[in-house]
């Protein structure tokens, strides 16, 4: 489980960034909220109204322990619960890559929330390109911990392909934040090639 721990550590920078974006007292829904760490932090720092959604009972349990409101159901069921613009923010941190229907979920999120944060591991990162070039297969490392035979199916999103998706679907990118390969320092130069992690704030045009 040390790999997972490392990922949680890496995600701290993302958490800090999201905490800066979200306003005091905002209504926030976290899709794929895991153990509710981000939401508990937002409640603590920004006194938000928080709701997490997850499909894993073990994670729901930890989120309940943190005192976070959670729905134990699939993401689309959760989104369908709410009227248009019922939330200020929907957060999809490291979630979109695991969805079978990313476009539908992003569109539903943009219906339910005024602003949506999408965070993902950038598959266009140079290391992945070299890995494929020299090893002839998908990366297996601390981030992509498992090979194809045991990993969950994952959409390989890159910074540029996400921008193209937004362009094609009339989605406005309000803010973006890229982290280098260590997921700590910001990445300002050629993010599609050099960013390890990407964070976008999007809204309807």
């Amino acid at each position: 489980m040390s790999g997972n721990k490392q990922i949680s550590k890496k995600k701290k920078v993302e958490l800090r960034e999201i905490c800066e974006w979200v306003g005091y007292g905002d209504r926030v829904m976290d899709l794929g909220c895991g153990r509710g760490i981000l939401l508990a932090e937002l409640v603590n720092l920004k006194n938000v109204y928080a709701l997490g959604v997850d499909s894993d009972f073990g994670k729901i349990l930890r989120a309940v322990k943190r005192g976070v409101n959670v729905m134990h159901c699939d993401i689309l069921t959760a989104l369908k619960t709410f009227d248009d613009n019922s939330f200020d923010w929907i957060i999809c941190s490291n979630t979109v890559s695991e969805l079978e229907n990313p476009k539908e979920i992003v569109e539903e999120s943009l219906r339910v929330a005024k602003r949506v944060v999408i965070g993902f591991v950038n598959y266009g990162f140079w290391y992945n390109r070299l890995y494929l070039l020299f090893k002839g297969g998908r990366t297996v490392n601390k981030i992509y911990q498992k090979g194809w035979d045991s990993a969950r199916p994952a959409n390989q999103i890159s910074v540029n392909s996400f921008k193209e998706f937004c362009e094609a679907n009339d989605i406005k990118i309000n803010r973006k934040h890229f982290l280098k390969g260590n997921w700590r320092a910001p990445c300002k130069f050629m993010p599609n090639l050099f960013a390890g992690y990407a964070l976008f704030e999007i809204s309807k045009k």
């Binding site: 009972f57 349990l61 309940v64 943190r66 005192g67 409101n69 134990h72 019922s86």
Partner: protein
Amino acid sequence: MNDFSTDVLEESRPGEVGIVAYSDFHSSEPLDFALGGRLESFDIRYETYGRLNADASNAILVCHALTGDHHCAGVYSINDRKEGWWNNIIGPNKPLDTNKYFIVCSNCIGGCMGSTGPSSLNPATGRPYNLSFPALTVKDMVAAQARLLDHLGIKTLALAIGGSMGGMQVLQWAVDYPERVRKAIALATTSRENAQSIAFNCVGRTSIMRDPLWNNGNYSADTPPRFGLGIARMMAHITYLSEKGMEEKFGRQLRQGSDSKFAFDSGFEVENYLRYQGSSFVNRFDANSYLYITRALDLYDLRAPDGTLETSLKKVKARVMAVGFTSDWLYPPEQNLEIVQALLRCGKDATYAEIESDLGHDSFLIESPKLYELIEYFLEA
């Protein structure tokens, strides 16, 4: 009331509440029922475990299901082998921890375990109420419990918790007395009975009412409508289990000593089990109470006259958690989720969790570490 010794208190492993006794609360103030009837006075039988703290802030109300009662933990004597119905969850260092909380459970009004119900004597006539007992709703059960809490000096509940009909009461509590409930846990329940559940209750009631001994509700205590009530219980019991659970427990196993496969009165083990459930139930439950309470379940509907749950739920102040069980087909998971969805639409603090279980509707009564953790975490968070 409870009897645990101090050395048990020191340890952190789960203990027992030990030997308990019930109490009776007599209210000489009248109780007006939601559908118009009235009792000039009434009794509520209840049990408590743990100690109420100085500011009366540590009380937990446990609400029982259709055929449950006030005896939810402990035993009545050393020789008593049957513990209260939720003994696995209530006790020192258990999820409902009697070291920290004062736990109250009462027999619902209309019941037959000591609280005033159809089989109680009407003081005005000296005869049992039978069908002259007021038309009953879940709202009345909760109103009677509120009187008991007044009597015990409890203004606010740290938690109201219950499954099935107990869950309905918990939700009714949160709606009718929003200032008095800080947290609420509703398990395996619904915001209103659907046609299927009403249909099952209808079969049970018909079975009782077609028993000649029922006699329009005017049977004597020695000759109750045993067959009608027994069959009602047998059928209802099937709805508390699941196809998979029954298959695992009984399969097609034949009853031991059954010599003929074609004897109608014996044969498969599952038949034997259901007959036992039916006949043992008759000894502890009153047929008229069964009619009244199942009718109260059918009438239960948290929706406001405008047809929405939101209009009633917007009064709620408690943090609510609803829990569904995957194999529960009486009050399926979606009906529990629906309650939380409506609360969230009103901007309330609400949580929905789902527990995988093969044990059907009765899952909430059966030992489950997942449920224990969920309750404990929600209560302590």
